[in-house]
Amino acid sequence: MTVSALALRANATFIGSTVGRKVVMAVTGAILIGFVFVHMIGNMQLYLGPEALNHYAVFLRTFLHGAGIWIFRAVMLTAVVLHVWAATTLTLDSWAARPQGYRLWEPKESTYASRTLRWGGVLLALFIVYHLLHFTVGSAHPDFREGDVYHNVVAGFQVWYASAIYIAAMIALGLHLDHGLWSLFQTLGLQHPRYKRYIRLFAHGFALLIVLGNISFPIAVLTGVVK
């Protein structure tokens, strides 16, 4: 016999709860953040010349006898789908939680990054589709050559509006990471008052690093540093 009067609602599940879906968002977010970092580091080989970058591309397509890239793609797709699912359902629930808004509203602690997190995420999803069509499939590329990644990057970014889209998307990514990276620590409960400002600083620094690193590619092409 139990002493406690605590009884859980019968239909309450981890994955159905708000906290559980936030945890899904945080864990998949952490996976995607890891990818974004490695993606940027790998692409830095653009500065080492055509041979290094094209070799890197061959490696990505052939490691684990070609299975590696498909395992990687499956993980990425799963992470993105779960991340978007959690974000969408939580957002709709939160919107429904306030059917009538305030006439006057004055934000105090929230930031531009935190308030634009959702629509920033939608923009990033659209950008990812464009990015895949641009550099992976090649259908959105003016002069796509299968296997010649270096050429594709240089020719792709020489189109000024393509570069503009990438730069704008990276700023959106920076804002998303700035709030998202700090949020994932908070959601998983990995927090302590003493470390809070370090986590915040880490999020700011990481977001800035990703933005600067990634927008350096189109800028390097447009300015002729890489050709």
Binding site: L6, A7, A96, K108, S110, G189
Partner: protein
């Protein structure tokens, strides 16, 4: 002081409301915000009109009954201050003041500025207690409590349940409230036996009440008249994850060791 008030008036939960403008003349800067509303109401009653309905009780900032959104801030512009402890000297002569009720689906407007906060009571009823055998009072200090945990628990227990966190949250989330109620018991030895069942039960009730969810804006912390921080939300999240990972572990269940 002379002020212009834009007040939300709503007859009951079923009829739609609207803003009505009132002129508040000869208001003393030493009045509290609620006393200012009392004066306005006296004049409305004298004029044969229906007074503005608002919740209030202790008027000394400890009961959590009062609470309205004043110019876009729950409980008004002063930090860590309930509406009853807010004084009119926080405003300037000639100011225009917009007064709205807490806005959340879980807080239906009953009349004017009064909302039904029963949802918060139901969250507490779902797990905001400890189960203890009745009998004579236990010896004081029989159970040692680490000082820092006692302090953190008291910080969380300062929650007066006013609902400003929900009102301030862009998602109308009650996570700061729920986390405070989960934390203040979960940090103490007396709260340990039910700690993980408690967090699951209270989060489940919070979700069932159709509150939104946290996106770490921290507006709740800024609006809380008792200064409860979002660290409590992180603590609740960690407990919830641990509770979900270990649920069903027989050895951890209270009562299993009773031996019949």
């Amino acid at each position: 002081m002379n002020l212009t008030l834009h007040v939300w008036r709503q007859q009951n939960a079923r009829t739609p409301g609207r803003f009505v403008t009132y002129e508040a003349h000869d208001i003393s800067p030493d009045m509290s915000f609620l006393e200012m509303l009392d004066v306005v109401n006296e004049r409305l009653i004298e004029g044969g009109e229906d007074p503005i309905a608002f919740d209030h009780d202790c008027r000394e900032g400890i009961c959590g009954t009062c609470g309205v959104v004043v110019n876009g801030r729950p409980h008004g512009p002063r930090e860590r201050t309930t509406a009853c402890q807010l004084h009119m000297r926080s405003f300037a002569d000639g100011d225009s003041i917009t007064i709205e009720p807490w806005r959340a689906k879980a807080f239906p407007v009953l009349k004017d500025l009064i909302v039904d906060r029963g949802a918060l009571d139901r969250i507490i009823a779902a797990g905001g207690f400890i189960s203890a055998p009745i009998g004579s009072a236990p010896d004081a200090n029989a159970i040692p409590v680490r000082k820092v945990l006692a302090e953190l628990s008291m910080d969380a227990a300062a929650c007066i349940g006013c609902g400003a966190c929900v009102a301030a949250c862009p998602n109308a989330s009650a996570m700061l409230f729920t986390a405070a109620k989960v934390s203040h018991l979960g940090l103490l030895p007396q709260g340990q036996p039910e700690r993980f069942d408690r967090v699951r039960a209270m989060v489940a009730q919070m979700d069932a009440e159709a509150f939104g969810s946290c996106t770490n804006h921290e507006e709740c912390e800024a609006a809380c008249p008792k200064g409860i921080t979002v660290e409590t939300i992180g603590r609740m999240n960690a407990d919830y994850v641990m509770a979900s990972l270990t649920v069903g572990r027989r050895a951890a269940r209270l009562g299993d060791s009773g031996g019949g």
